[in-house]
Symmetry: C2
Subunit: 167 residues, 2 copies
DNA sequence: TTCCGATTGTTGCCATTGCAACCAATAGCA
DNA sequence: TGCTATTGGTTGCAATGGCAACAATCGGAA
């Protein structure tokens, strides 16, 4: 940084201080966290973010439909669709028609899918633990409550439907 | 939801409960927050996320170089490059060669850019305020501290260099 | 029964963007 | 002075993913 040190001169009237701006800080934190996680499921298991979410959801609930895959509204239905297709092609997920409503299909992990799930999940959990390890149990509980409050509020402020648009 | 209510059956052994998994919850919150913000700077001012960040950074610090634009490591240098090009083409940002080191260029908002900044910033701030309005001042302070702690830790866990990969 | 609107899921198209290769310029060192 | 490693920045390429249009199906009301 030869002479770039002058880059700190504040502008006439800085209206927003980025480093203190909550949405920005949340994005940075979420991005870093995703990176840490991606190291696990991407590099080591060849899973994309959407694929990882599908795997983990199906590991948690058997037989969800693609529609239910993103009820919290984090992924686009097209994203889910493509992720499921890819996972099916890899033999990790299996579809079964729902005879009661033939628009949708039941989804479930195959044994191979379950195996991957059981290999990835503990490592992902470990990352989460390592993240939280800098907080006391009390702080963790507080954080959880704060995130919940903010998420509820953010849902009110965000465009009603559209929610899936990060990465 | 004709018959989909059965989708709740938990799997044999759910190792990860997504709704309680910190990285996931952070991503959801950050995504919703970004959506709320994007409504302002995208729909109303035609700014992309990177463009918004450039504008806001230049509003805060005059004459930063493109390199300094993402020191917190949130944007790729190619992303910054393209955002700056676009903004220059729109006449919102001006480049000036740095004669001391001709690899880099000083960047600054043009009057038009400054005008946009002064129009967007207050609205963006308002979104942030509305988000935080569900927390007491005490809680806001706590949240800030927790985010800092987690961000520091996440930086240690994430791949050393790569950080810009959200959206 | 027969529409019409709503819902699930897929796909084509396009914008975004990460990656890596590359150019230009600098710094450090022999 | 040259030679090499490093850094700021740009661009081609390919993959990702959102949007919107579409097909298939269902539910409800006339």
């Amino acid at each position: 940084m030869a002479s770039g040190s002058a880059a700190r001169k504040p502008a006439p009237e800085p209206l927003v201080v980025l480093e203190e701006f909550l949405p920005y800080r949340l994005n940075v934190l979420a991005g870093l966290t995703s990176s840490a996680l991606a190291q696990i499921y991407a590099e080591r298991f060849g899973l994309s973010i959407p694929a990882w979410r599908v795997i983990v959801t199906l590991g948690q609930y058997e037989c969800r439909t693609a529609r239910d895959m993103a009820p919290d509204g984090v992924m686009h239905k097209s994203t889910v669709s493509r992720a499921v297709s890819a996972l099916e092609k890899r033999g990790l997920v299996k579809r079964r028609p729902n005879l009661d409503d033939r628009r949708e299909e039941w989804l479930a992990l195959t044994p191979e899918g379950r195996a991957i799930y059981e290999a990835v999940a503990p490592e992902a959990l470990a990352v989460g633990e390592r993240l939280l390890s800098v907080l006391t149990p009390q702080e963790q509980q507080t954080l959880s409550a704060l995130i919940d409050k903010l998420t509820r509020q953010a849902r009110l402020l965000a465009p009603q439907d559209a929610e899936g648009e990060e990465a």
